[in-house]
Symmetry: C2
Subunit: 122 residues, 2 copies
Amino acid sequence: MSDEVFHPAIEDLPLSKVLAALADPARLAIVRAVAVADPDDGLACTLLPEQAGLRLSKSTMSHHQRILRECGITRTRIVGSRRTLRLRREELDRRFPGLIAATLAAPAEPVGTSARRPAASA
Amino acid sequence: MSDEVFHPAIEDLPLSKVLAALADPARLAIVRAVAVADPDDGLACTLLPEQAGLRLSKSTMSHHQRILRECGITRTRIVGSRRTLRLRREELDRRFPGLIAATLAAPAEPVGTSARRPAASA
DNA sequence: AGATGAGTTCGATAGATATCGAACCCTTCG
DNA sequence: CGAAGGGTTCGATATCTATCGAACTCATCT
């Protein structure tokens, strides 16, 4: 279990934190993409823009991945120079039974809905 | 169904909005309190501070109630000079199966955890 | 009518947070 | 070694939002 990056213990996670992490269309898209990936292999971050249908800068993607990780939703594994994401399914199901299932079962929404778009400046 | 206040149609609600509405400890407390109230009578707003264990100003309470209402989670009914809240259970279950159940089943967290406390100024 | 009680609305404030580009760190590959 | 690929971190920016008190509205009660 030697983590190279920080992962919180599931028991420490308040529901509101987890909901807040999920309450962003971009992160929902990421979670959906990770959820359909092979649970053992995980999903390579490189594939996220494509798999999740996101057109965000590298730094913003990194930001979202960090939120998901620090809120206990995903686990990041480092493989050489790249990283893969996987859902912490069992753990989440243990602490918040039904929450992930309900989230994934809900109708998907187009990314961009209700997001904080930064005013597409000149 | 003549509403005196605005209530969105369930079909219009993106998941992220609903999650955002739930992602606040104070609002979670409100939802829990409303959920245990009689579904027909609803919960009188006056009782919220007591039932939900919240010490917030009137205006802040009003704000949270508005968010919950506008995000389709509660329905506000006006009775004379006071109002009651009820969960839009069936509707929510229809659009987001399992979500409310999972939310209510999750371990309750102390209000004040991870909330935006405004610096308790001098 | 006047006072009281229940809530909303407004304006201000402090603190998140979503987004980006630039600079930076590793690992891999030529 | 040097370049390229994959990600993180930093700083800036704009927006959002949780909170409060004060002023207001409407219904009820005396």
